[in-house]
Symmetry: C2
Subunit: 529 residues, 2 copies
């Protein structure tokens, strides 16, 4: 397992492998059939790679205390594994002490059970160019997850529908700054609760070719999701390749219920991915002091990863995390707060101790609208994720109102900011070329560098150019309608959706997917809870 | 000189000395008279102190190349010192090669000339509780500087007036998150150009008690500013205590003109502070590649500091910096850009090599309004300053539109964010108390921590509570008028100004200040250019 910190020096990073090998392509028979015809000639979207060091907030002593405290929690308090005898039995056979629903782990046991998880793995898209690597120097950004509402500037805040879901999948497909299609990018509340996963997985598979997440709200829905992935990628391919993930939250504090362990086991059994994320608001699902929360989350995440590894050693996991704070005036959750930012760094250090891919961050905010609050909170939360060394950043686009809303304008602002962060992750290359000695010889004191040969040679590529950042003069900006960022984002997402072109799919595969969907929908009556 | 990085461990930091010693208070006779009557009983506003490590972006090799390149620039290209024979003679006598206006420095010379500058110094406010330390683990935030315009939500964008100037001084005085009153917080364009400095310095001295900056647009205006400080603090006190600073920009690339060197020399001769800041937009005042700019700025800043030290060894300086980027579509300056953020970290590393207090960052944005763009750019730029180890953060409140505008609502958003950053700088304390073992013993798996003894004991203090961040439910927020952050900030600054109470001042001192001001205004006709 590679426990070295993310790379300061590019040569220490693995060779880019966003495209699977030719051999892998050959093996993926059905998958190859479903890929667009242009596969071989399409340019490969480069996956973001970190070339900057991580930020280590804590000294070794403090970090060790957190790890020791996590072990103490697991040993003395333990976790409850509710309603899942199989999971308890797996833990018991691995050496844990099981007493009723309570499962306790001797110090070091949970960590050692995580040791079979890969430090890095490939996650395959329906199209080769959207295959990504998770872990190492590679970074994956994924859109918002789980909101019952959507909002846009004209329509306001409203319940999300399947049309919204498809719109968000399409937007995520089109932007180069999201490498993953996400999961429940919003809740399509116009579809019965027990059938939503079918439409959601179909949308990811049909309207995008990026990796995605499947259903987790029951083991059966997870199995359905995996079955649909098998239709597209082939059963054999799935045995050895990750194409789908489950987003597994823990019932913090310290509880795993059978819904979540059931879904987790389904994905692990299929050798597919699990992202294990305790969602802890300090003061509610854990103590109000951040060091305790960090240790608790570390304990909970290790238990989830251990279960995935006991079900199927080597199955791909992401060490996830979602710690946040509470407005102590009202008890409402807060995001991008200083305490949450600090915790993100510490969590990154713990993930590096385990040598596992880290999920952290997101463009989080409590704001109801895509205003200044939305972006100050989001920028702070995402900056922390970048320097903490996050490999998998969920909730990276669209999040508003503490996750209750996925906002169309916010989505556009967030992906623009992701582009800026990706540029930041490239760091500075100090070499003869970037030091521009000839530029100084040509310009000299008091002479502008606008026309030097060095400036002309580098002008087009020197700086990242975001889409939504307005730098026009006040006069020009006024003439253009004096639009603020939210209004500009509104124009942009509508134009982007209008420009969307669906990726090709093999008509036979598509028919098979739709038949599966119809069968499963017909098999049970609608349920709305 | 302390060249160690900012402190990970609080005990490595100096003992807090925000209040000058009793002996210092006794020495400052006139100053004591001008302080508010409540001096001794007033609580001391704690100055922000860093307890988190800095972020070192560059490895040693890259950092050394930048320092070597700065030396190469100074040796081969040199700087032009225009219209100031005294400055050139000081450099010549210190070993520089002077050829006409061109001054060249052998490698290592500029750095060695900086070595007499203090690593840390006290900057005295008119009131003891507003005395701050610059350098070491101490951080000072100062408001926006130099904008000809102001804006607010109702009044829109308009030329600034002396009333705006006084309003901004009052707001800066009232907030605990700015420890410095700034300088030209906006240009009072209703006052003649050649007399503005008198009204501005009077406003800082009369309506605030925080440290401030004086005039720099001519040596005489700098002298006037220092003379006014002497009236308040006493001539003898100024000989050994810093109470005022000059904000010295370089005419990049590589030019020092007599206006700036004249002001710099005036402050240095008086043993007062100089903040030396090359303002370089890549592609215009320097090459378009950031490593070149960083080296150039390092060279320019060292020359400015060297001049201050040659005029008066030991006079307090700040190693300043303002590098930013250009929108390559239009040539407009951009702020909070990825390239500028990266440069900030590198500049911080160079300042630590010199062991000098660092000016970096600011709540920068190109946005015309206090919208999402304004805060995403600002948050990114300020986050970089914090992790780069900035000691003195100028332009920390109010900046809009690339510095052309100081915005009232933006000012309020920025100071709110400063509070969040100050909390972040405190880091995480991992100890028995924060690990909350008893909380887990009390709550156990599945039990909310809201009511545990640990939570109740820590609830009030656990999290920082910003003013302008709205965390209400959508329903509550709607009932409250559905105000976005800009609208909430509008309410807040008006309330704050309404609550302003001027600090006391000795009537004799005030009369003397006003007499000086009248004399100087009467001495010359108004000039409007």
């Amino acid at each position: 397992m590679d426990t070295s910190p993310p790379c300061r020096i590019p040569s220490r990073c693995q060779v880019p492998t966003a495209v699977s090998s030719a051999a892998e392509r050959r093996r993926g028979g059905r998958r190859a059939r479903t890929a667009e015809r242009a596969t071989l000639s399409d340019p490969v979207d480069p996956q973001p790679r970190r070339r900057i060091p991580t930020y280590d907030l804590l000294d070794e002593g403090s970090l060790d205390r957190l790890a020791v405290h996590a072990d103490w929690i697991l040993d003395e308090i333990g976790v409850e594994v509710r309603g899942d005898e199989e999971a308890r039995e797996l833990f018991r056979s691995a050496g844990a002490r099981v007493d009723g629903q309570r499962v306790r782990f001797a110090p070091g046991l949970a960590r050692s059970l995580c040791s079979t998880a890969p430090a890095e793995f490939a996650m395959h898209g329906r199209h080769d160019r959207h295959t990504v690597r998770v872990g190492g120097c590679n970074v994956v950004f994924s859109p918002a997850y789980g909101s019952p509402f959507v909002s846009d500037l004209e329509g306001g805040r409203r319940y999300a529908t399947l049309e919204d879901f498809e719109n968000l999948v399409k937007l995520a497909y089109m932007t180069p700054w999201l490498q993953h299609s996400g999961g429940t990018v919003c809740e399509p509340v116009d579809v019965p609760v027990n059938k939503r996963h079918l439409d959601m997985v179909y949308a990811h598979l049909r309207w995008s070719t990026k990796p995605f997440m499947g259903g987790v709200t029951s083991p059966e829905r997870a199995e359905d999701s995996i079955a649909m992935a098998r239709i597209v990628f082939g059963s054999e391919f799935l045995e050895t390749h990750c194409v789908i993930q489950g987003n597994i939250n823990v019932n913090s504090p310290l509880v795993f219920d059978e819904v979540m362990t059931g879904a987790l086991k389904a994905y692990a059994r299929a050798n597919q991915g699990n992202v294990i994320s305790p969602f802890i608001i300090g003061g509610a699902m854990g103590p109000v002091t951040q060091p305790a929360l960090i240790a608790q989350a570390h304990a909970e995440t290790m238990v989830g990863i251990a279960l995935a590894q006991l079900v199927r050693p080597g199955s791909p996991v992401v060490y996830g995390n979602f710690l946040t704070t509470m407005d102590l005036r009202s008890g409402a959750p807060t995001f991008g707060s200083p305490e949450a930012v600090l915790s993100t760094y510490a969590v990154g250090q713990l993930a590096r101790q385990l040598g596992l891919p880290l999920r952290a961050g997101g463009h989080y905010t409590a704001s109801k609208v895509a205003d200044a609050q939305a972006m100050v909170e989001s920028a702070d939360a995402m900056g922390a994720a970048v320097y903490a060394g996050a490999h998998f950043v969920h909730q990276a686009a669209g999040w508003l109102e503490g996750g209750l809303v996925t906002g169309y304008e916010k989505f556009m602002m967030d992906i623009d900011h992701l582009g800026m962060l990706v540029r930041r992750m490239q760091g500075l290359v100090v070499d003869d070329d970037s030091l521009a000695a000839d530029g100084y010889r040509e310009a000299g004191p008091g002479v502008a560098h606008l026309g030097t040969a060095h400036t002309l040679a580098h002008f087009a590529e020197a700086n990242f150019t975001p889409d939504l950042i307005d730098t026009a003069s006040f006069e020009q900006w006024t003439e253009d309608g004096a639009l603020d960022m939210q209004q500009r984002a509104n124009v942009r997402w509508k134009r982007m959706l209008a420009d969307y072109e669906p990726p090709d799919i093999d008509p036979g595969i598509d028919a098979e997917l739709l038949a599966f969907l119809d069968d499963r929908k017909a098999a049970v009556p609608d349920a709305w809870y």
